[in-house]
Subunit: 342 residues, 2 copies
Amino acid sequence: MKKEITIYDLAEKLNISATTVSRGLQNHPAININTKKKIFDLAKELGYQSNKFASSLRKQKTHTIGVIVPRLNSLFMSSVLSGIEKVVNNAGYNLIISQSFEQEEKEKTNAITMYNNRVDALIVSLSYDSADFTHFNNFINKGIPIVFFDRVTDSLPVTKVVIDNFKAGYDATMHLIEQNCKSIMHITGNLTRNVYKDRYEGYRKALADSYIPFSDDLFITNDLSEQEIYNAVTNNILKRKQLPDGLFATNDSAAAYALTLFKEAGLKVPEDIAIVGFNNDFISKVTEPAITTINYPGNEMGENVARILINHLDGEGDLSLTSTVILNSELIVRGSSLKSKV
Amino acid sequence: MKKEITIYDLAEKLNISATTVSRGLQNHPAININTKKKIFDLAKELGYQSNKFASSLRKQKTHTIGVIVPRLNSLFMSSVLSGIEKVVNNAGYNLIISQSFEQEEKEKTNAITMYNNRVDALIVSLSYDSADFTHFNNFINKGIPIVFFDRVTDSLPVTKVVIDNFKAGYDATMHLIEQNCKSIMHITGNLTRNVYKDRYEGYRKALADSYIPFSDDLFITNDLSEQEIYNAVTNNILKRKQLPDGLFATNDSAAAYALTLFKEAGLKVPEDIAIVGFNNDFISKVTEPAITTINYPGNEMGENVARILINHLDGEGDLSLTSTVILNSELIVRGSSLKSKV
DNA sequence: TTGTAAGCGTTATCAC
DNA sequence: GTGATAACGCTTACAA
C-alpha cells in the first residue's frame, strides 16, 4: 500500500507552502495563476487526492446527504432515488442511503446513524408505522435541513414535497363513479400516513358529492404486501354475496394483483369490476386490460427534493419559504375502468 | 448551533485523560470497569457523538462501502440493494450509492468519487457499455476489495457473485423447444456483458443440442429500453411474413411488454407464440397469461455480496479463496409458455 | 490501569 | 500573493 500524496508533498516539490497549495487547489482568487497551474499540474502528475476526512474535520461540513426511505425495492422508490442521486451527484454531494423496512424503530436507529455521520442534510419518507418523530429533533435543533417527501408529517417544521393525494383520490373515485360504479371499494394503507389518509378522504368526498353512502364494508386497510392483497381479495372480497363493481387501489401493484385474482375467479374487468390504481408504474401497462391509474412521477419528485436541498445548502433559495411543494399528478384512463365508451 | 461534545469535554468533567475516555468508549479491556461506566454514563448524559471524520482521518478507515450500479430504478436492482443495505447496515457500515446510468464515462467518474471518499470496499455491477476497466485499478493497487455482481468481467482479479446465466439461457430455450417451438427468438442486451452473452450462448447450445439451426433473423440485441422493445416488436417482428413461435426475452419487463404488444396485434400467447422471460419480477405474475421466467433472487444476491465483503473487511474469510460465487436460479413455468399440458 | 504527546491532512487566521 | 501556525477530534506508541 503506497503512501498517500498530501498537500505537503506537493508543497515540498514546488518549494512553496502547503497553505498556498491548499488555496491553489481551491482556486482561491489571490493565488498567482502560474502558481496555480504548477500546483494543478503536479497534483495531476502525482495522482493527488484530497482527503475528505481532514477537510470535513476542519470545515465541519461533510458534503453528504442522508436518505431514509421505507423500502428500496419498489419501482416508485427507485425512481425517486434515481432522481435524487442524479441531482445530488451533479452538485458534488454524496448520498448515504438506508431503509427503515417500514418500522419506526429502524427509522430511529437510521436517524441516529445519519446524525453521527454528520450529514449536511436529510431526506426522509416515513415508515409505515412512524407515529413519534422525536428522532428528527437532533437535526432540527442543530439546523440541519430535512426534506420529507411522499410520506410526510405536519408535526415537524420541515420542507415537504408531495402530490395532492386528496385530489388524486377524488379524481380516481369520481372517474369510477362516472363509469357508473355504484359500489366502489378502496384498498389502502395505514391511515395515519398522509398519503393514504388524503386519498381516502378524496375517495369519501367523491362518494359524498355523488350522494353515494360510504360503507365500512367497502373499505380495506392493510400493509399492502402481496400476501395481504391476496387475503383481502380471496378471503374477503370474493367471498361476498354482493360483489363490488369498482375498486380504487392505492398502488398499481395491488391493483394489478387484484385484477389478476379477479380474472382468475372468473370476473370480467372492467365489466364486472372496474379498477383504478395509483403511481403509473410500468406494471399498469402490461396487464389485460391495462390499468387506469394516477400518474405519480417519482423521478421528478426525487429531482425536486434534491434540488430544493442543494439550493438551500449552497445558500441560494430559502427552504423556509417553500415549506410545501405540491407536484402535479393526473389520472390516466386505460381499459381497466372504461365500461362506457364516452 | 450548540458546540459539539468531544472526548475532551468528557475527560475534563471526569478528571481523567482524553485517552482514557477514548479507550473506555471503545471498550478497551485495560480500562477499569468503573471508569468505563462513568464514561458511558456521562457520554449518554451529554449526548456525546463520536466524530467519524477525526476517527477516519486517524485510522485511515471509513466504515463506508461504495456501490456503483447501472441504474437504481429497476425492481431487480432495488432488491439487490435492499439486500446489501440490510447486511451492511447491521454490520455497522455505511453505503454510498451511485448510478452509472449505463455509461462507462459516468462509471469512471463515480469510481473516482468513491476512491476520493476512501471507501473501504466497492460493490459494482457494470454499465451497459463498459469495456475498459482501468478505473478500478486504483482500488486493486491499494488493496481495496471489490466485489462484482450480476454484470461482471473476467478481466479483473476480483470476487464475483453471479448466477449461471448459460444454464439459465439453456433451460429457458430448452423449455420452449420442449413446448414444440421451432422458431425461437431471443431478445437480449449487449453481448459484451457476461449476463447477456452467457444467456445467448445457452440459447444457442440448446438449439444446437436439438438440431435446430440458429438464425440471425431470430436474434435481436438492443438496450432493452421500453422504446427499443416497442421498435423490435412492432417494426420488426410483427412485420414478418413468417412469425416466430417462441420468444426468450432477457428480462421480464421486455417479456411482459412484448406479450402485451403481441396480444394487441391479435396473436395468442402461448398458442401462436410462447414466451419466457427472466428475473421473476412481480410483473411476470400479473400479465395474462403469466410469464414463464427464470427465478433470479436479487435480494439474496445482495445479501451474499455484502456478507462476503463484510467477512473480508472484518478479517474473517478470505476473499481470494472464493473468487466466484454462483447462486441458484431455476425455471418457473407459467402460462405464457405452456402449449402442451404435459 | 492510566496519562503524555504526536500525528492523521486540511483550512482559517493572522501576518508580512 | 504567500507563509507560519494553530486547530478540527480522534487514536496510538510509549511511558509511568
